[in-house]
Amino acid sequence: MSLDPVPAPQRRRMRGALSNRSFLVGLVITGAVILMALVSFFWTPYDITRLAVANRLLGLSPEHPFGTDHMGRDIFSMIMIGARNSIAVAIVAVGIGMGVGVPLGTWAAARGGWADEVLMRANDVMFAFPALLSAVMITAIFGPGAVNAIIAIGIFNVPVFARVARAGALALWPREFILAARASGKGKVLITLEHILPNIAGLLLVQGTIQFALAILAEAGLSYLGLGAQPPMPSWGRMLFDAQTRIAVAPHLALFPGLAIVVTVLGLNLLGDGLRDVLDPRLRQER
């Protein structure tokens, strides 16, 4: 991860980005999933709140490209709405992580001394908890549901962003342009806003995409355990759980939600990987 951002003119950077294969593939996949989620607000092939038991467990057909589930609901429509749920959870969870973690991390780097020490040790304690298990605990205490899942996942994103932001900021503070800003009488808050944040934005963006993928996985895990989004709201993890008992009869019930999770996570990881290369000219040259 380079902290020497060499901003090429914007146009050249865009062209460089699009010629990076993993960035391009990641962008297309992520874009498709987000588009699917957005479209589901206005239109889905079938209304998934209407049960049609006569059509239960249908295989793949032109009418139902991904088949139907045990209550006759169209799986493709459920996956579209499930995408909405996954993305919403991930966005808010990563938002909580960034919103709390980045200010904490940059504050620790700017303040130094005991504040830094206390904060980073608290971070280490957080890292010592297995995140998913703790999320299970939180939802077990406060009750299952999408909101509690979001909060649980978000809390465990905080130390990740705090650590990345602090490391990035620490490397910038001794640089001469920061000294020059201090000699101009600018305080730590102003310097953090004007100089530190723009220069670690790339770092945070890359970490953001990785955390986004992890949040989607975590949400699927919680939903699978019945601790995430509650029915009738479909979610990919819950669809996997429902498919479990019928796996021998209708394997497609497990196949498509599983594929949705894998492809989305893969897309986000590719995007993060590509972004890192695009933002870091040094890594790109080593290819």
């Binding site: 020497d4 951002p5 060499v6 901003p7 640089r175 001469e176 342009f177 000294l179 020059a180 800003a181 201090r182 000699a183 101009s184 009488g185 600018k186 305080g187 102003l190 004007e194 100089h195 723009p198 220069n199 040259q285």
Partner: protein, 544 residues
């Protein structure tokens, strides 16, 4: 027959032509100088000889080394050649060594790889080599790690690695640029001795004509990837027939024309602008062991001096002597352990950021590294206007733009540059930007920390002119921190010599530099390369 014969070497990387036509030949036992400004293709020529070119580079022409055609040689043959028959020394001793291996391992590594010697033999050879470069085992056991050595010592390890297998050709790419003058002198002497002992050839790459004049037998001057002039060093530099050679030589001995200080308010009768008294800064040193007592390192030791309005003062000393720490305390970027700093009659030590505003407005800074001193994500307008944050009444957008444009004009840049990003400027232009940023609040004092040491000679001359000119026009006082006495001589009235945290000598620049009294000043002066002096000496040798 020549050891190395380069004929019509061309090199292009991704469509841009780096080398146009380079011809160099080096005889066995000869020291050849390769001189040029940054971007002229010096390092790329060296890398072509080693065939260590970046991916996407296309080389043409011919490079013949000891009967081998390098450009068409397979990689396996090059691996045998590199480190065995051709050794290389890099500029930056901090990054040229592997931080997780001991110096013994690093020297022995090449010996084992190339000769197939066993560990014990390789180690004994490494020991002998390190001893030869001035790191005897008693003081510097083979088990030392690079971080336990100073910059000069590390460069000795790099030389030991390069010379361990008695190469036929040693390539030294700016080997002393990152070192202070005293270390530079030691390293150059060592290189010369090694050449004389083993009869190897040396290709010395440098931008410093004085160093090259002193060291080399022959000289090749390149510019924009093409040879400008080549021949006997003394002849080329004393005749200066080629206009570019003349330009380089003049730039490296350039002294800006300065109006004598007769400004009102100058002189000892006026109140001093800056008064430093008994200033001390201690740093805690990590205790060596669990039960060892924490000790302190005194970076600045009871320093006292004053600067008067409009005065230009040089602070000279070797690297690590505390110059930059002192500068940071004056700029209120670091807190003194004890002592006082009074600026315009006001104590600045231990004040709040708010109370420092008037002092900060009148005291600005220019740093060494023209690349690191700007936020790469901001445009010129925002960068140069940054100190305006200190103004009591923040200027409006239009006024701010005018002020920035005015400052840009004053440092010789175009007001049209206002919307550019820093990477669109060359090193010298960026240093002008840094100066523009420093003068925008009309300060009374500018602290400049090695402001020209990262610049090429011709750019350096221009920037020194600019400093001198601003001193005349705006009456700014300078505290010029440098290890280069030529810079001190060129533009300062008074010089302070610093050694191990203390000021050991003070006086008018000419008097101190012509008749140094302290050992530290004498050592600096004796080590400083001087183009004119060297040439006279060498000419006398040739005729005598």
């Amino acid at each position: 027959m020549s050891l190395l014969q380069i004929e019509k070497l061309t090199l292009s990387i991704g469509g841009s032509q780096i080398l146009r036509s380079i011809d160099i030949s080096i005889e066995p036992g000869e020291i050849m100088g390769l001189v040029g400004e940054s971007g002229s293709g010096k390092s790329m020529t060296a890398l072509s000889i080693m065939k260590l070119l970046p991916p996407g580079a296309r080389a043409g022409g011919r490079v013949q080394f000891d009967g081998i055609d390098i450009l068409s040689a397979p990689e396996a043959a090059m691996c045998r050649l590199r480190g065995d028959d051709i050794g290389m020394i890099f500029q930056e001793p901090m990054t040229a060594l592997n931080p997780v291996k001991t110096i013994g391992q690093q020297v022995a590594e090449g010996i084992r790889w190339h000769t197939g010697a066993n560990r014990a033999d390789a180690e004994s050879r490494a020991r002998a080599m390190l001893e030869r470069v001035g790191l005897p085992e008693k003081e510097f056991p083979l088990t030392r790690y690079p971080h336990e050595l100073s910059g000069g010592q590390r460069q000795r390890v790099v030389i030991a690695i390069a010379c361990a297998l008695k190469p036929k050709l040693l390539i030294a790419d700016e080997p002393t640029t990152a070192l202070d003058v005293v270390l530079q002198r030691q390293i150059l002497t060592l290189l010369r001795e090694l050449v004389n002992e083993s009869g190897m050839s040396l290709l010395l790459i440098s931008h410093d004509l004085a160093v090259v004049a002193e060291m080399t037998d022959r000289l090749t001057i390149i510019r924009d990837g093409a040879v400008m002039e080549a021949g006997e060093t003394v002849q080329i530099l004393s005749r200066k027939t080629h206009p570019y050679t003349r330009q380089l030589a003049e730039a490296s001995t350039h002294v800006p024309a300065r109006v004598a200080i007769s400004k009102p308010g100058a002189g000892p009768s006026a109140a001093p602008l800056l008064e430093v008294e008994g200033l001390t800064r201690d740093y805690p040193v990590r205790p060596a062991g669990l039960f060892a007592r924490a000790s302190r390192f005194r970076a600045v030791d009871h320093v006292s001096f004053s600067i008067f309005p409009g005065q230009s003062v040089a602070l000279v000393g070797r690297s690590g002597c505390g110059k930059s720490t002192l500068a940071r305390m004056i700029l209120a970027l670091d807190r003194p352990s004890s002592g006082s700093i009074r600026f315009m009659g006001q104590e600045i030590g231990g004040r709040s950021e708010e109370a420092l505003r008037p002092a900060r407005r009148n005291m600005q800074v220019v740093f060494q590294d023209p690349y690191g001193s700007f936020d790469p994500r901001h445009r010129v307008e925002r960068l140069v206007a940054e100190p305006l944050h200190l103004a009591d009444e923040k200027p409006g957008a239009a006024r701010r733009r005018d002020l920035v444009a005015e400052a840009l004009e004053q440092v010789g840049l175009s007001p049209l540059d206002i919307d550019k990003y820093p990477h669109e400027f060359s090193g010298g232009q960026r240093q002008r930007l840094a100066i523009a940023r420093a003068i925008i609040t009309r300060p009374k004092l500018i602290v400049a920390d090695e402001p020209v040491s990262a610049l090429d000679v011709s750019i350096r001359a221009q920037i020194l002119d600019l400093f001198a000119d601003l001193n005349d026009r705006l009456g700014v006082a300078y505290l010029f921190i440098t290890h280069d006495l030529r810079v001190a001589r060129a533009i300062t009235d008074t010089v302070l010599v610093m050694h191990e945290g203390k000021i050991v000598e003070t006086g008018p620049t000419e008097i101190v530099l012509d008749n140094p009294r302290s050992d530290a000043a004498r050592a600096l002066l004796a080590a400083a390369p001087d183009l004119g002096l060297t040439l006279r000496k060498r000419l006398a040798q040739d005729t005598g």
